[in-house]
């Protein structure tokens, strides 16, 4: 191995009593793709924030090209040749591609150096096969293109080491291949890459070496990820074996939710065109598709937040007359929204309040128009216990919980009332293996009890594992439906791009 490009030695960083990183050593050589693996809260992001100058480490040093350097802010990191692609893109949507690239770059005789910027952009395009229209506003780019812009931005500033924080979380399978090809080409040209992920198959496919973090410490190093099984790596990550939930036999009963010819308009994003589908009791229907092909509108219609222009919907045999969340809930619908923090719960209120919010006016939690705090608290406490929601108590601010615990709370809130139909969007996005496993298990239990579940997800592995049938959405339509047994990642991938349809 050649001399490391960047080396971190004995990095320790504490937040109060919590040690987010403890004596972490890590090195990346030129041309190497290093995987950084770990569950949520294992300290991956903290470590990278130390490297990128957002946090000052309590102990340890960072060496660039063999010399110790002090990195106090992102400007220092950029000067040291470290570029970072954050999980949440740092782009201004209303500015153009070129403007986003030129920010912070000194101009030429007091003006923005447009010509120089264009030349550099072209050069990066030629070198790494990454190109974008420079005058397009960022808001017009797809998520994959925005990520490409973030990578270009780092290269634009002369990054020799590129850090990518969970880059595939937002991509469709076809886009992932493109990203990997670009990363391999960059590594081949001598760049160092740190690839952060908790998706084991990706780490195995892409990286040359990987470091596994657990509770802030290095739990293990894998020198040949491709030759190591996912199970071994998962064990390093979690400290124990992970078995996928058993998918018990289930005979689907009558249809509990039917959509017939639903079309929408006036919704931000893709509208639905003549969507018909059904879910039977005891069945899990997966909705696959590249993000932005109408999944959000579908979820909004089914949860009563958007009224369709045409078409009908029936829940448990009853036609839906009025599309409102309350109405549908009364008919037996449970929903777990995509965005836990904005449409799921109220982050500034106590957890207990958020847990009863959809049923705040019902008998269970209020009497004669007044809230029943004791009942609310008792309900929250019972659910916290039943679902092992890790929190200081029911009165803690909901926003203070981790993603996994929030998702458990939302699940508890809906399942406590035995819904006939459950609609879930991106159930495990951003969750670690343990929490995801818990959520999946609960779905299986509900399926066994005869609940019809619709899972909208961009995670195809999850989709294949859970679903009895999978419907693929493309440009606001159902492009085709497959039985779980017939579905493969490749097949779904094709259908998701509109290349193949089948019912």
């Amino acid at each position: 191995m050649s001399a490391p490009l960047i080396e971190m030695r004995g990095i320790t960083k504490s937040f109060g009593a919590v040690k987010a990183n403890e004596a972490v050593d890590l090195a990346v050589a030129p041309g190497e793709i290093l995987g950084l693996l770990g569950e949520n809260g294992a300290g991956k992001t903290t470590l990278m924030n130390v490297l990128f100058g957002a946090y000052a480490p309590d102990a340890g040093e960072i060496l660039v090209g063999g010399r110790p350097v002090a990195i106090h802010n992102s400007a220092d990191a950029l000067a040291a040749g470290i570029g970072m692609v954050h999980q949440h893109f740092h782009l201004a949507p209303r500015l153009t591609v070129l403007e986003n690239l030129l920010i912070g770059i000194p101009g030429k005789s007091g003006r923005i150096d447009r010509a120089g910027g264009l030349a550099r952009l072209k050069e990066i395009g030629r070198q790494h096969g990454l190109s974008l229209d420079p005058d397009l506003p960022v808001s017009a780019l797809s998520v994959g293109e925005q990520q490409r812009l973030e990578i270009i931005k780092a290269l634009f500033r002369g990054a020799k080491l590129l850090i990518l924080d969970e880059p595939t979380a937002v991509l469709a399978p076809s886009e992932v291949d493109g990203l990997f090809a670009a990363l391999r080409s960059m590594a081949a040209q001598g760049l160092g890459i740190i690839f952060i992920s908790h998706k084991l198959n990706e780490v195995r496919a892409l990286t040359h070496r990987c470091v596994v973090l657990r509770h802030g410490k290095v739990a293990g190093r894998v020198d040949h990820p491709a030759g190591t099984t996912s199970a071994e790596m998962a064990k390093l990550m979690c400290g124990h074996e992970i078995v996928p939930p058993a998918k018990g036999e289930s005979t689907p009963g009558a249809s509990v939710l039917t959509l017939d010819g639903i079309s929408t308009s006036g919704h931000a994003g893709t509208t639905l065109r003549e969507v018909s589908l059904f879910v039977r009791s005891g069945e899990i229907l997966g909705i696959a598709g590249v993000s932005g092909n109408g999944q959000r509108a579908l979820a909004d219609v089914i949860s009563g937040m958007l009224s369709p222009d045409t078409g009908t919907m029936t829940i448990a045999g009853k036609a839906v007359a009025q599309f409102s969340p309350r109405e549908l809930q009364a008919l037996g619908l449970g929903r777990i929204p995509e965005d836990r923090m904005t449409t799921g719960l109220v982050t500034n209120l106590p957890l207990a309040d958020s847990m009863v919010l959809p049923r705040i006016g019902t008998e269970a939690f209020s009497r004669k128009g007044l809230l029943n705090p004791a009942a609310i608290r008792a309900f929250a406490e019972a659910q916290i216990k039943a679902y092992d929601i890790r929190c200081p108590g029911p009165m803690v601010r909901a926003g203070a919980l981790s993603g996994g615990n929030l998702q458990k709370a939302l699940l508890a809130r809906e399942l406590a009332f035995d819904p006939k139909v459950l609609i879930v969007s991106q159930p495990t996005r951003g969750l670690d293996i343990g929490a995801a496993r818990f959520i999946h298990e609960k779905f299986m239990v509900m399926r066994g009890k005869g609940c019809g579940i619709i899972v909208i997800s961009e995670d195809l592995e999850e989709m294949l594992m859970l679903s009895d049938r999978i419907a693929v959405m493309y440009e606001g339509r159902i492009a085709g439906t497959l039985f779980g047994a017939d579905a493969t990642v490749a097949r779904l991938g094709l259908m998701m791009t509109g290349a193949e349809g089948r019912s």
Binding site: E99, L102, I112
Partner: protein, 314 residues
């Protein structure tokens, strides 16, 4: 009716529009710079008043109008810095601090004015700026006397509009301003100081508001009264929205407002005397509300407007 129109659209009408538009243009550009960087400055009304007072006082005590303008600009910039201190450095509510700055500046202006000039039955006045005709250009029929026989400050406003557009769209600093107003985290990760950029934009905005105040007491009225600003600052805030945070459009909005204002002044003086004059006074404001109702639907404010930036927050 045609007689009424004749009286309204006489020679001086165009000149009046330009004169009314000038302080609004300065104020609107000032507010626009501040808001493009993500800082709403509700202190504008008070900053204009205090600058108008300070400029007038300096001019009347020293006898130099340009010294007065300089003082007004400096006072405006200083008050901009005060607003930035609260909202950018300390990250406090932009609404609350802006109104606080307006109240503080207004109170201070009244207080100092009384302290310096005492209570007089007729407010003291100065000999303000005189129109400076531009050779050749001022000979153009109609347009010449209206646009090219004006105060130097009017010419300055006319230059300020393309200059503001150039600075905002063509310079690295302007790009930084737009970036910190859209996504401060992106600017921060690119090595741009969000705090410094916002400070600079709000201070520049304050200086422009100071110019607007200077124009009122040293070119338009040549005296300071407590009602000298009379809502022009608030109007500027609306004009920024109307102008969709763009220098050209904002200046255009100022011109449009000035047109309606000049129109109502003429209508007051015309043969429509049986209508109470207050009805005419309302016109420009009704126009603003109606225009806002239609225009602000498509207007998209800078994404980070009103949001303080703190680095540690994730």
């Amino acid at each position: 009716m045609s007689a009424v129109f004749e009286q309204i659209f006489q020679v001086g009408f165009l000149a009046a529009i330009i004169r009314i538009a000038t302080p609004l243009a300065f104020a609107t550009l000032g507010e626009m710079f501040s808001e493009r960087a993500g800082v709403l400055n509700l202190g504008i009304e008070g900053i204009m008043l205090l600058s108008a007072m300070a400029g007038f006082t300096a001019a009347s005590l020293s006898g130099s109008l340009w010294l007065g303008v300089l003082v007004a600009v400096l006072v405006g910039a200083l008050m901009g810095a005060l607003h930035a201190l609260f909202t950018v450095a300390l990250g406090l509510s932009q609404h609350v601090c802006g109104i606080g700055v307006t109240l503080f500046c207004s109170g201070l202006a009244y207080f100092l004015y009384r302290l310096i000039f005492g209570q007089q039955s007729v407010p003291p006045s100065i000999k303000g700026f005189q129109p400076v005709p531009i050779p050749l250009l001022s000979d153009i029929p109609i347009l010449g006397p209206a646009v090219f026989n004006q105060f130097t400050l009017v010419y300055l406003a006319i230059i300020a509009i393309p200059l503001a557009a150039f600075v905002l769209y063509r310079t690295p600093w302007g790009l930084s301003v737009r970036m910190v107003g859209e996504n401060p985290r992106a600017a921060d990760s690119a090595g741009v100081s969000v705090i410094a950029t916002r400070f600079q934009a709000v201070i520049l905005g304050g200086a422009l508001m100071g110019l607007a105040g200077a124009f009122l007491t040293m070119a338009q009225f040549n005296a300071f009264t407590f009602g000298v600003v009379s809502g022009r600052g608030w109007v500027a805030i609306a004009l920024v929205v109307f102008g969709r945070w763009d220098p050209w459009r904002s200046a255009g909005a100022a011109l449009l407002f000035a047109f309606v204002d000049a129109l109502q002044l003429r209508m007051q003086a015309s043969g429509l005397g049986h209508i109470p004059y207050e009805a005419f006074l309302m016109l420009p404001f009704i126009f603003t509300i109606v225009a806002m109702a239609f225009m602000s639907r498509n207007a998209v404010a800078p994404s980070a407007l009103l949001k303080p930036f703190r680095r540690e927050e994730r």
